[in-house]
Symmetry: C2
Subunit: 421 residues, 2 copies
């Protein structure tokens, strides 16, 4: 049933449904309605009911026309790939589209050979094989993971692109149902000694990614994760085992985890001194800025979309906070003068993305659309000016400021930033 | 770090962790502990930290050793493929492993050409193109989908296999985050006439799958779904558009939806008269048994697993109900004499699968393990005898009776049924 041959009809139906969104549809006469139907008799040559279909398969594939892809940065050992956020719906990220950030590539590790050593300030240093870990009480949680460098590429006043997609800007964000064993279970097993206050997590990639994490955090809700979205971890997500710290900057969730050392202080590894520290405006440096603050991004409308006509549109996006639940997302369609609460799609889970939507009427003028998130601690996503004032312009980490999209009279959408707000 | 070369060590660690699960671990001497560590110095030839890894990619792939597959029935136009439930964790089913049940194969439909006709007892018969539908307020919900024939293959007393997997028995069950437009939104758009009480949903596959659904149901929570687990529907799930009726038997969620007719009675199509009706013991037939009753399955231990040794194990499984939330799952490890509440993994969502787990000590004897689910209406998953009494043995639909697994002294697990309970 090709609508391309009936532009007049499709146009009519399209306008009707669009305006109908706000229960203010065009007036239809019965004649209109009947004509709509009469023209709809399918043509057999185009009728899929006349052709036997493809039979069942052991593994599904996407429709040929639906081929979302991650966006690659430099194809080097230390690189990243970004999730196509504007192509996605809901909150779950398909595992093959989950962002990557590796410092020395993806190691090839056999499930049966992998072992985790837990030692340091413990009563019983122990080695766990995957078969051991999978026998412990298993929990699953839907949580986001975001690289602390997400959004950093467009932060500096000196580099302020306007033709940038959500994927290129904020695609180092993904959400999965993670499955594994609470770290607290394993630490009770080995017996943490008095005075211990941090752990060191070490990966078995060629970067030997190593991060220090407060003991209180890992005892609270960190997982030794071996499952993602129902299946075993993908190699690029740490197969067969990764640490997962809900709400913390991504690289603390050390992939290909081989060692946990319990300590009484942070270890100050290369990965938390030369990197993943935030130079501030006053010349000092912020270290261990571990929690990802509340943030939101509008995925539609965004570059390179163009609104084909004025009228009612549903703005859609994602909001999340490393501190807990999102309690509110506001949207402004006039550059930040007036804000309206967006609808939030439940269930609203702590430290997970939440989908928000806001219906607005585009009058055909130049305008700017923004979103701002508030979490259960009362924290409100800051403006870019507030972030510049607090942190200066010398860091590209933790750039959670409000994103702005400029809609031109032509309907074309481009990325905006502080100067637009 | 290959553990295969250190069976004694691995064995020790393995027993330790297993018993540790119940905080009643073996007593460790410091000497034990230190030996565990000393033996763990990695051998460079096996150390992945000495080899650069694979770089980032546009699309992820599974580990070579992790290749779950759907199980195919007859490879004919009318066939099914089943989800590997025992291989999965949490509740989300990866989209390429979601079960299939087609009556005439998977049609090839172009997103831009597809149209939905809504007519019958409405004020304004209308045609919607995909671009129209995607402009309406969008909702996402995590819900299960189950074929009403799921489990039917092992129901009859005359066909009672013992060497059957969870996948072969109950693999016509999957759970996804579904995204689309509420049917109620579209029906308000066209204006339902007084006296309407049902709809007819028609697919554009070569079977022209057609089902009648009560109007109250579709107005309550049915979706015109175009998204699944973040991405566009897969072709085998109805691309570009399917009806999705949460909690209802699977084939009412008509795939490749092309027509909705609003009526004042059920249409009694071939697909709800010659099929999908339940012959009862008294010679009568039950029609429109639409809601899937509460059910649970243990995915571990299950055939063909074998417990390698006595001790503490975590039984794991899934429970779900088409009537709302699961409120309780009980597990028996003694053939149904004694029942213990299993732990439920939150969030517990209505009409979604919920993961349950129960730690039990296997003493090394012959035993039988079962689970039974209770939902928020108070409905309790029946025994197979109760189902036989109520429905006879002439139907293979809606077989939600308690499943039993027999654990032999050898540790081998086989499927059981009524005679074991």
């Amino acid at each position: 049933m090709s609508g391309n041959e009936r532009p007049k009809l499709s146009r009519r139906a399209w306008i009707t449904t669009a305006s109908g969104v706000v229960a203010a549809g065009l007036v239809h006469t019965q004649a209109d309605a009947m004509r709509l139907v009469a023209e709809e008799i399918p043509q057999q040559t185009q009728d899929p009911t006349r052709v036997p279909g493809r039979i069942v398969s052991e593994l599904g594939t996407r429709a040929p026309a639906e081929q979302p892809r991650r966006l690659l940065r430099a194809q080097t050992l230390s690189s990243s790939s970004r999730t196509p956020l504007a192509d996605l719906m809901g909150v779950i990220t398909p595992s093959d589209l989950h962002f990557e950030r590796h410092h020395a590539g993806v190691p090839d590790i056999a499930f049966g050979d992998h072992e985790l050593l837990v030692h340091g300030m413990v009563e019983r240093p122990m080695v766990f094989r995957m078969a051991d870990l999978m026998r412990y009480p298993q929990v699953s949680r839907i949580r986001f993971l975001e690289c602390s460098g997400n959004g950093g590429g467009v932060y500096s006043r000196t580099r302020m692109p306007t033709e940038v997609t959500v994927q290129a800007m904020d695609g180092l964000l993904s959400t999965s149902e993670w499955t594994g064993v609470p770290v607290s279970t394993i630490l009770r097993e080995v017996g943490v000694r008095p005075g211990a206050s941090w752990i060191l997590a070490e990966g078995s990639d060629a970067a030997v990614m190593s991060r220090s994490i407060p003991l209180d955090k890992v005892m609270d809700d960190s997982l030794l994760a071996y499952g993602q979205n129902g299946e075993r971890l993908r190699p690029e997500q740490g197969y067969p085992l990764r640490l997962f710290n809900p709400g913390y900057e991504g690289n603390t969730s050390v992939k290909w985890l081989r060692r946990i050392e319990v300590t009484d202080r942070p270890t100050h590894t290369r990965d938390e001194t030369s990197k993943y520290t935030d130079p501030l405006g006053d010349g000092t440096v912020r270290q261990f800025s571990l929690t990802m603050d509340a943030k939101s991004v509008i995925t539609f409308p965004s570059y390179p979309f163009a609104l084909p006509e004025r009228g009612w549109w549903e703005a859609r996006g994602l909001a999340w906070s490393g501190r807990g639940r999102i309690t509110r997302v506001e949207v402004s369609t006039d550059g930040g003068r007036r804000w309206v609460d967006a609808a939030l799609q439940g269930p609203i889970l702590a430290k997970s993305t939440v989908r928000f939507r806001h219906l607005f009427e585009w009058q055909g003028d130049d305008t700017i659309i923004l979103s701002r998130a508030t979490d259960e601690t009362g924290y409100v996503q800051p403006t870019v000016q507030q972030l510049w004032e607090a942190r200066g312009e010398r860091t590209s980490y933790h750039q959670n400021h409000q994103r702005a999209w400029k809609i031109a009279r032509t309907g074309e959408v481009t990325f905006g930033l502080g100067e637009l707000v």
